[in-house]
Amino acid sequence: MLSIRNLHAGYGKVKVLHGISIDVPRGSVVTLIGSNGAGKTTTMRAVSGMIRPSEGEITMGEGASARRIDAFDAHRIARLGLAHSPEGRRVFASMTVNDNLLLGAFPRLTWGRPRGDVNGDLERAITLFPRLKERRNQLAGTLSGGEQQMLAMARAIMLNPDIVLLDEPSMGLAPILVEEVFRIIADLKAQGVTMLLVEQFAAAALNVADYGYVLENGRIATHGPAAKLRNDPMVKAAYLGGAH
């Protein structure tokens, strides 16, 4: 569904990614883990178009419908079916929960993607996240961190996306909320949603993912099926040092 080849990206003078390659097959959950500053969020941003890569190729879709998206603007990539729930949630604080969700379906409502049943999807989404249902007319800025995270994820699936990028969904959340978030991710996986998950919390991420990539200083240190990575000492070293 998503194929990244030799991606180089950074911010102005700072080069963060030095040539990484990642594959996300359809229907799978792939996770990108690593300590802070390793380049996880930069990778997400380069994929969804928030920043332009300096080198490399990003392809979305498979077979005949595959297209290169590395030179596209973010809004165009979204309209192609890539949903990004960004780091820090970034919900629209002065708008209601309902409106936030509606905006997630913006391309569907403006002839960018097949319209389908937007209202029906909204009801389904809000049922999947019971906390949101109670607060549907509340302003998103007044929700707690955990609720905002739910909202960001629900907003992302409102696109009816081909692939969802989840950037640090657990950040700043208390452990009990982290559990809930990951339960929802597992639910989505069961429904067949393709996901690229970036997480600081390696343990929970590797639990829910099929495949994992470990990012260290802008390069892939190691990768493999999630089950194998769970016991790999390189993973811990990537976070807390001590491997070299």
Binding site: H75, F92, L103, R155
Partner: protein, 291 residues
């Protein structure tokens, strides 16, 4: 006492004009962090174009939507020529100077097309004053108040009910996140400038019958509307109505009780005081700096 009441009525009408112009500032500032230093000239062009149409025989009420369309086009022009290049090179100095420059050019063009003298705009409503609570108010002043409120309400409804309006609000909230929703934020910014000039042009044809219409009518209006936008807070709609009323009434009363020469002073002084004490405005929220 009746004089005071009359001054208050005129002040409210004047204040609503300021509020509508300030509303325009808010629109563009919310989505792009920039504003049009030539906003007063947008009002002036709207008034003059409207005058020409009315002089050519068009009905006042029919003329209004035509001028609004003109405003849309003029706003889009300002954004494309003046603001977009500056946003691209991330230069604040750039859009400040270029919107000032465009304002100067518009004013000069207006002087050459319509002449340097002030012109009379025929009033669409009877000129006989109405008595309200013992004091006189002109029907046109009531129209101004009503029209201004209606315009701001219309935009609010658009923002809250239509999906495009919601897209604009989303862009003001968080431009990057809006782009992730598939919203073309560059287009939203152009649109917000177009809308902002529309409201200014609309204000222009409303206020024109009440004052003299000419190439110079926009300059100080723009500055004082900025004062209103600051006093109210660049992010609060309620704030600019309150700010507009305060300023309008302060002006009409100063103009009468002190002298007409000094009538612009209270607004400007208020602007300085507010910026010195509470830069975010009376109703605004101070942003937390992240380092």
């Amino acid at each position: 006492m009746t004089i005071l009441l009359q001054l208050i009525y005129s002040g409210i009408a004047l204040g609503m004009i300021y509020a509508v112009i300030a509303f325009g500032y808010q629109l563009t500032f919310a989505t792009s962090g920039t504003l049009n230093f030539g906003q007063g000239e947008s009002l002036m062009l709207g008034a003059l174009v409207g005058l020409t149409l009315v002089t050519l025989g068009m009905n006042y009420w029919l003329m209004i939507p035509v001028v609004c369309l003109f405003g849309l086009a003029q706003g889009a022009f300002v954004e494309t020529i003046g603001v977009r290049p500056a946003i691209r090179i991330k230069s604040e100095f750039g859009w400040i100077m270029s919107t000032i420059a465009l304002g100067i050019i518009f004013k000069n063009v207006a002087e050459n097309v319509w002449g340097r003298d002030d012109l009379r705009f025929p009033s669409p409503l009877p000129e006989a004053p109405i008595r309200l609570f013992g004091a006189n108010v002109l029907p046109m002043e009531l129209l101004v108040i009503g029209g201004a409120l209606l315009m701001m309400l219309a935009v609010e409804v658009f923002n809250s009910k239509s999906i495009l309006g919601k897209a604009v609000v989303a862009t003001s909230n968080d431009r990057d996140a809006a782009a992730l929703m598939g919203i073309n934020t560059k287009l939203v910014i152009t649109f917000s400038y177009a809308l902002s000039s529309l409201t200014a042009a609309f204000a222009g044809v409303l206020v024109a019958p009440l004052t003299l219409t000419g190439a110079t009518m926009g300059a100080v209006l723009g500055l004082k509307a900025f004062a209103v936008a600051i006093i109210g807070g660049l992010s609060s709609g309620m704030g600019i109505v309150v700010g507009g009323l305060i300023l309008g009434i302060a002006e009409t009363t100063t103009g009468f009780y002190v002298s007409t020469g000094y009538k612009d002073v209270p607004g400007l002084v208020l602007l300085l005081i507010v910026l010195a004490l509470k830069p975010a405005g009376l109703f605004g929220k101070t942003a937390i700096k992240k380092v």
